[in-house]
């Protein structure tokens, strides 16, 4: 005890103050590294993020991503010059696929972000308050869940008119109920914890309890769900793009590219294969990452 008191007189360094968090992070990293699929997921997501960040500056044919037409170079197979071949307008598919990463990332962030922004507060309020308010919120949530999400989104886009923004709005509208469900269930268990009652006994108001006690304890499942949803949202947006409700044609959007390309199957296979592969790898990456995060954040697996 005495030597602790002596050392405590000098101010502690950042490293010492946050020793436990650093250890926790190292433990997470250690567990994450131990799993091949998590690391694969992380690699795919990192590659995707890098492409989204710097893609437009490194593509070999930047003008092709904005809808340039080279009628002489139509539908060329993959070669050293055009790695992924060219499309029916003679544009370089490699450039367009890379440029599409940014669109997809944007779609993923906006949809899951908006979904969580609407869903998490509703879920916390429903779970904490209970009673009539909870019944109302949960019934409305179930109403949304009862209709197939993509079908509802389709109807919304159809009424708003096609376009990338409307497509994202529509998907966000159908995305939030999942968060309400998740957060409500977690809140119901967290609010029974002693520390919530303890906070109440020192005179904390409800918003304080929700923000400082309930929300931090709901964060792990929210993070996991968001990382998984990134993939699903990109897939759903590609689906809407495929039926022509997403980004208008010259924009390099993966779903729209596959859609146009399907009439060139199977002779010009590379046209639909590469955008499709991009969708596949991105969704796979986010799902594996989400799985990995769930494994390390789940308290049941935290035996060490």
């Amino acid at each position: 005890m005495s030597n602790i008191e002596q050392t405590a007189t000098r101010p502690l360094s950042f490293r010492e103050r946050n020793a436990s968090q650093i250890r926790q992070m190292r433990l997470y990293a250690h567990m994450f590294r131990g799993s091949f699929s998590s690391m694969l997921g992380l690699t795919l997501v990192v590659v995707f993020l890098i492409l989204a960040a710097i893609g437009p500056y490194i593509v070999p044919y930047p003008e092709d991503t904005r809808g340039a037409v080279h009628m002489a170079a139509r539908l060329l197979p993959p070669s050293a010059e055009h790695w992924f071949g060219t499309d029916e307008m003679g544009a370089d598919i490699f450039s367009r696929v890379i440029a599409g990463a940014r669109t997809s990332l944007w779609i993923g962030i906006v949809i899951t972000g908006l979904g969580a922004l609407i869903g998490v507060p509703l879920g916390i309020i429903a779970g904490y308050k209970g009673g009539l308010l909870r019944a109302c919120i949960m019934r409305v949530t179930e109403l949304f869940l009862a209709v197939p999400g993509l079908a509802l989104a389709l109807a919304i886009v159809a009424s708003l008119g096609p376009g990338l923004t409307n497509c994202m709005i529509a998907l966000a509208i159908v995305w939030w109920p999942g968060y309400v469900r998740l957060v409500e269930a977690k809140t119901l268990s967290v609010k029974e914890e002693l520390f919530v009652e303890s906070a109440r006994s020192i005179g904390a108001k409800t918003p304080w309890i929700l923000w400082h006690h309930i929300l931090p304890n709901c964060m792990s499942p929210i993070i996991v769900k968001m990382s998984m949803d990134m993939g699903m949202a990109i897939l759903a947006a590609a689906g809407l793009g495929f039926i022509g409700l997403g980004a208008p044609p010259p924009a390099p959007e993966w779903g729209a590219m596959v859609s146009v390309a399907r009439s060139y199957m199977p002779d010009w296979w590379w046209y639909s294969f590469f955008p499709g592969a991009a969708i596949f790898l991105t969704v796979l990456g986010f799902n594996l990452l989400g799985d990995g995060l769930r494994d390390i954040l789940d308290p049941r697996s935290r035996t060490r």
Binding site: S20, L194, S198, N217, R304
Partner: protein
Amino acid sequence: MSTPLLDIKDYSLDIGTFDGPVHVLKGINLTVNRGDTLGIVGESGSGKTVLVRSVMGIGPKGSEVTQGQITFDGQDITRLTEKAWGNIRGIRISMIFQDPMTYLNPLFTIGQQISDVIAAHQRASGEGVASKSARRARTVELLDQVGMRDPDQLFDQYPHQLSGGMRQRVLIAMALAGKPELLIADEPTTALDVTVQAQVLDLIKSLVEKLNLTVVMISHDIGAIATIATRCAVMYKGEIVEQGATADILGNPQHAYTKQLLAAVPDIEAEPKRVAAAAAEPKTEKPVKLLEAHDLTKIYKSQSGEPFTAVDKVNLSVAKGEIFGVVGESGSGKSTLARMLLRLIEPTSGDIIFDGQNISGLNGEPLRQMRRHMQFVFQNPHSALNGRHTIGDAIGEPLRIQTNMSKRDIEARVEALLDIVQLPRMFKYRYPHELSGGQKQRVCIARAIALNPRLLILDEPTSALDISVQAQVLEFLQQVRAELDLTYVFISHDLAVIRQICDQTIVMKRGQIVEQGDTEKIFLSPAEDYTRALIESGRKTSRAANIGATG
């Protein structure tokens, strides 16, 4: 018969963690002969549960035996295959677990669960499974053996229809189903009420005599060990520091840790120091009433719609500066009462008067302001702290909520509070899971006194802690009270603790006060049968533990 039944030689066990291996058991040597009753005492984290689980072959995940071996009836069982264990586990060695609430499957009847165990044993021993009616007969016999009334009817009941003590008896019956040669009891009474504890200990003792069982019992309760075990071993930090005849160890402890442990056991017979002190200091003024309750009632509606009265017309008054004790078994409504006094639970009817002001009608902001003056310390410090907040955040939280102090002032106050509760200042950067139970409870107390309250309600503040830690926390609570001029309402099921520190005491049973008055008077001449029974059963274990100390 010359070979011991269980022989543990130089047994060491490591558990691999991220931070490297932890040496959980270090060179354990233990011998248990047939017919022995061995008690293992130690505080939580001393490795006693890991030790007995290793004997059952259900050691923790990622553990590795570094040296030594365990021999059972001449057979080395240190590294048996799962298949070989099938003929030993539950049949020749069986175990009674700590928490009877969670070890029974709520979906099956008691009878079915026990007869399934019987069937499993018969299958494993290759006898062939007996008929259903034969197993039923054996189950009823077992239930009768563990002292259950009406075992025939009990056969078709579900676990939730049974009380904690009855469930523990069912678990004992289950453990006896295979006619085990060695019975391991892992804290069999910890989760039970005082009166029930005494009954279960009596049962185990009578079974040992009747069935000539060999028992290894582990407990942190020296009284329980002293009641059952003829021999006893003391474990501390993964080592056995002392072993021998129980009476010798309790009467003449050799190791410093054992001495400290024995000194910490509260003695129900001892006349508390404060009585002498109070006699020497005559009361000069009439005590001021700080907290009063009039006809406080809480009625819950059960799921079937029937009203259930948790607290029934309780009247009490707490004088300023005293320690007011509330005793009762679980389900007696004492925690509900405590929460109502703070308005954490809304009373169905009745008034609470704090310092002359009726607070039962307060709402919103005035109630929030009121909370400054009365604080609550919870039973379980492990869940009373938010795992995502640092200790500094936890202690500073009431200041951030109730005052306009600047960040720097709060930091300073947090450090001062850590000094008061005698924890190093650097603890404010730590997280709750890094602290021990006693340290966490100190943090909870620091949090409770942060706003300089006048009343502290302590709901079993020591029952989740080890005995040696309990003694420290109790002493510390009395110190803080003197320093900060606090009034305590102290809730406990442990009569020895109540007698040591409380001035006034109420005894509760099924939501009603059965007896109240001066603590010494209640202990020396209880007026009610219930109080007498409570004190008697408390005395039983306390006396056993203090055999050596007093005689």
